[in-house]
Homo-oligomer: 117 residues x 2
DNA sequence: TCGATAATTCCAAGATACGAGAAATAAAGA
DNA sequence: TCTTTATTTCTCGTATCTTGGAATTATCGA
């Protein structure tokens, strides 16, 4: 990932409203959540929500599909992974113990294939 | 981690200059880098650098110690880990394969204790 | 103490982001 | 087609961020 994309992604997430949206979508999985449902759950104005969804989408962190009258939003996990990778790149150079807590996190989240946890 | 701290951290990183500083410190390890050296390597004005270091410090992402005339800055890995954890919290609920790439990253970075990679 | 180096603080202006009201567009059903 | 629901676009006042010049503080060596 390039610096420009990383800054764009971090900027998109650097706002309480957008961070809440993104985390909701991350937790929602591939199924996603409709814009209206997000607005209801977070209690935000539809125009504000729409603007924020746009910012997240432009940063490549989310995408959407239309289903009837609703627009369903989903997280782009690949982009999230790339962003995290960009942040911790070479963090372990020479000192594996430094970022061990992150690996623990991966293990606790059961993100590892069988046999690695 | 609370939403407020997460936004503060992401905001601090949502700037090309500060992101470059932070990554440099992440890669530098516990030894850290002096403010002047950072300014030289990134070619930024000392006052701008100082302001940015302050923002990163206030977000809890870096800390410093004085050594003679120099002030050495280091990354706070615990805070970085907490921030990443906040972002991917519950991301795997029901779908472990979704964030498997992140676990791969941890493995590739040799962040895992012996026997887990 | 004086001069040089290292870093920070203060301040102002220009740029950008933010939230909200109002209007517009898209889709579904009567 | 008309109405309702769902979402987006337009616009604008306000708040915040960013940057650079100038001055200030801290440390070391002569």
């Amino acid at each position: 990932m390039e610096m420009k994309n990383a800054v764009s992604g971090l900027s998109a997430l650097a706002n309480a409203g957008r961070l809440s949206i993104f985390r909701m979508l991350v937790q929602a999985g591939r199924e996603g959540v409709a814009a209206g449902e997000i607005a209801r759950r977070l209690d935000v104005l539809p125009n504000t929500l729409s603007a924020n969804l746009n910012i997240l989408a432009n940063a490549g962190l989310i995408e959407n599909r239309r289903e009837g009258r609703s627009v369903i939003y989903t997280a782009r996990y690949e982009q999230m992974t790339e962003l995290l990778e960009f942040l911790m790149q070479d963090c372990c150079a020479g000192n594996p113990e430094v970022c061990a807590p992150l690996a623990d996190l991966a293990i606790r989240s059961r993100c590892l294939p069988e046999g690695n946890a």
